[in-house]
């Protein structure tokens, strides 16, 4: 589109030629848009394929390939339509364009955009339907568990060829760490599809709705243990914090007690001095007594 932008100052004729060339190109991409539509048909085909999947015959690989192809086509078409719209706007920006050409170009662009939107919407619907199917399969798979006793998947077993599909399915079902253990495999009913279609004898035996496989439950238990240990670590840290804070309190108490001890000892010293002072007061009393007797003597000398 760079050459289009450089041709801004070109004449009206050149503009028309540019637009017609781009329309040509787009007409060529119409087959690709038709391919997009046919990709849409393929999407519909994917939808049909997704609809007819059962527990066993799950053409997941095909669906994924088709999905990838359709997505690429849609992105390419989207880019092309955006470019066309830019060209259209740039052409509308210039003056020497008749209104007919403007309306024509805008109409073409709008039409292409609408068709692309419709195709994208249908594709999205197909994808949602596929996810719903997957969910239904999951729930159905969990309903009927693994043991050989009952064969509720029997109708499916009779419809589709079993062995190959089962491995494809096992690959889609997630836990990858299951593949590491050779001695145990996920408890999914698909491995029942090895031709063993005898109904079980006792009618009393029922399927246990196993929620998790063995490995999953072990992993879950390990997670629990790990989180418990983590919490324990937290608790210990908090405990340490609290104890250190309380240690500070203990130091304060200790200081207070030492202050009290010093004060009481000082007070005791004062009181001892006071006691000594009081106990040695007799010496002062004797002095006062002598002074009184001296006064009495003088008084007696004056009177007698």
């Amino acid at each position: 589109m760079m050459n289009v932008k450089s041709g801004q100052g070109s004449s009206y004729r050149e503009r028309t030629q540019e637009f017609s060339s781009i329309a040509e190109r787009l007409r060529k991409s119409f087959p690709s848009l038709n391919a997009g539509v046919s990709a849409n048909n393929v999407g519909v085909g994917v939808g049909a394929v997704a609809k007819r999947t059962s527990v066993f015959d799950d053409p997941t690989v095909e669906i994924q390939e088709l999905t990838a192809v359709i997505k690429q086509d849609i992105t390419a078409l989207n880019a092309a339509v955006v470019d066309l719209q830019l060209v259209c706007n740039s052409q509308n920006g210039s003056e020497s364009i008749s209104s007919d050409t403007t309306t024509h170009s805008t109409t073409v662009v709008d039409n292409l955009k609408n068709r692309l939107m419709g195709a994208t919407k249908e594709f999205k619907e197909v994808l949602t339907m596929r996810t719903e199917n997957l969910k239904v399969h999951e729930s159905r798979r969990q309903l009927f568990s693994t043991s050989a006793s009952k064969e509720p998947a029997n109708p499916f077993a009779r419809q589709h060829p079993l062995a190959n599909r089962s491995t494809a399915n096992a690959s889609t079902s997630p836990p990858p760490w299951v593949k590491n253990s050779s001695s145990s495999s996920p408890l999914f009913p698909r491995k029942q599809a090895d031709g063993e279609s005898q109904p079980l004898i006792q009618q009393q035996q029922q399927m246990v709705p196993l929620q998790d496989s063995y490995m999953q439950s072990r992993a879950e238990a390990l997670h629990n243990v790990e989180s418990t240990i983590h919490e324990l670590g937290n608790i210990f840290t908090q405990l340490a914090t609290m104890v250190s804070q309380q240690g500070e309190l203990a130091i304060r108490i200790d200081e207070n007690m030492e202050d009290t001890l010093a004060n009481v000892e000082g007070a005791q010293g004062q009181l001892m001095r006071y006691l000594n002072g009081i106990s040695s007061n007799r010496w002062l009393m004797i002095k006062i007594f002598f002074v009184l007797i001296a006064f009495l003597m003088i008084f007696l000398f004056f009177v007698a």
Partner: protein
């Protein structure tokens, strides 16, 4: 949470027409009535054979039968089946089966492959295992660890509570000691004051 029976069987791999052969059998049917015990034992044998026959190699299965769960684990033709009640955790059940099968292989090596008829002799380890594993924590180390961790957590919570109490008591002690030091200071001042005034008198 109870194990009712443990069986070790030899399963034939693909030609599933023949029934598995019992290699060891341990049952605890004491909670059934006296006259029902033989019937229950036969029934256990039969169900065990059927479940083992239906277990493909290298896989674990669980079947619900009335109020029991029957767990089976098939390892290369040697199959061990356990009858547990509904409360017994599934994982512990399979770890019990794992231990039993390991012990059997250690003890008997490959000799079990040649046995063609049901073994009637008892295998004491199986009986001991039956009584030991009535408590699922014995078999499943994860369960044991989880249980101990939970107990530790409870103890720690109690510890934290007591530490908080200690904090409160320390608070009150701090207040009381500061009051005491203030009082002693007043006491000291009073003593000094009363000492100064009354020396003359």
């Amino acid at each position: 949470m109870k194990i009712t029976a443990l069986l070790v069987l030899k399963c034939h791999p693909i030609p599933d027409g023949s029934d598995p052969v019992i290699l060891a059998n341990a049952t605890d049917v004491n909670h059934f009535g006296y006259f029902q015990r033989v019937t229950v034992k036969q029934f256990i044998v039969f169900v065990g054979r059927t479940v083992a026959k239906r277990t493909p190699p290298n896989q674990r299965h669980t079947v619900q039968h009335e109020e029991y769960k029957v767990h089976s684990y098939n390892r290369n033709g040697l199959c061990v089946v356990g009858f547990m009640d509904d409360h017994y955790p599934v994982r512990s059940a399979f770890s019990v089966l794992n231990q039993v099968i390991d012990e059997y292989q250690k003890k008997h090596g490959e000799s079990w492959k040649t046995i063609q008829a049901d073994t009637t002799s008892q295998w004491p380890y199986l009986n001991d295992a039956l009584t030991k594993f009535q408590d699922p924590a014995e078999a499943d180390k994860l369960l044991k660890i989880q249980r101990e961790l939970d107990e530790t957590k409870i103890i720690l919570h109690k510890t934290i509570d007591s530490v908080l109490e200690r904090g409160e008591k320390l608070d009150s002690l701090v207040e009381k000691s500061s009051d005491l030091s203030a009082a002693s200071q007043m006491f000291y001042k009073q003593a000094k004051k009363s000492n100064q005034c009354c020396t003359i008198l």
